[in-house]
Symmetry: C2
Subunit: 112 residues, 2 copies
DNA sequence: TTGACAGGTAAGCTATAGCTTACGTATTAT
DNA sequence: ATAATACGTAAGCTATAGCTTACCTGTCAA
């Protein structure tokens, strides 16, 4: 369409979409341990390294990771705060199964 | 490929994928209030009713909702427990921003 | 019983996610 | 200088998500 569309990161894809793919969740899990190079991140996967790069790009676009250069490596680091919106959304639903746990608790108390 | 593939619910798509689409999250939000008919669920959306039906089908496939017939209505109801896996995954990451909150708390204490 | 209502599903289309291979570009090692 | 390493990105392909319209079935109302 226009130049901006071409060059800008697409901000319209959100964290929910980013974590929908299992490979991207796994990448985040790896980064939760600590900063890592692409090589390192790509190793556990069956897919090609460029494929992993593309997943990293998605994560970068939504701000779930950040990069810095270190020698000839690109070191990726987690930015978990961007998961907060997801957490907030799901957290609202916890009451549905926690209620049941409460009920179970009551049941156990009353039938002891 | 085979008959089973044709007729069976595809179990390979998980809750993460199901909640990736904003419309499906909104549907779940509506159902969090209470059971509802398709009509009712479809009303807030721009898209056609069949489109909503298809989203409901996805939610049904992953077990996030269940249906029962009531007269000529199909009443959908939330099964939020299926979000527990999602919750568990994201919850692990809360420490990343809660740590920061803790640090802020300490800072405030120490500088009061 | 005939029509209106509620909703699922098939068919068909478009856009794009996700992968591959091939190539370009920094950076370091020799 | 040259080769090797560590990436990113472009090009191109396939599969499918997500939508539409059209049609079908099941239920209640007249």
């Amino acid at each position: 369409m226009n130049q901006i569309t071409k060059t800008s990161r697409q901000a319209d894809i959100d964290a929910f979409t980013a974590i929908a793919h299992p490979a991207r969740r796994q990448i985040l899990d790896l980064l939760a341990v600590g900063e890592s190079s692409v090589q390192n991140l790509a190793e556990p996967f069956e897919m090609s390294r460029p494929a992993v790069s593309q997943h990293l790009r998605v994560l970068l676009d939504v701000g779930l990771v950040e990069v810095r250069r270190s020698g000839r490596e690109q070191r990726y680091r987690l930015r978990a705060e961007r998961l907060e919106a997801v957490y907030d959304w799901v957290a609202h639903y916890t009451r549905f199964w926690e209620e049941k746990l409460d009920n179970l608790g009551k049941y156990l108390e009353e039938n002891e």
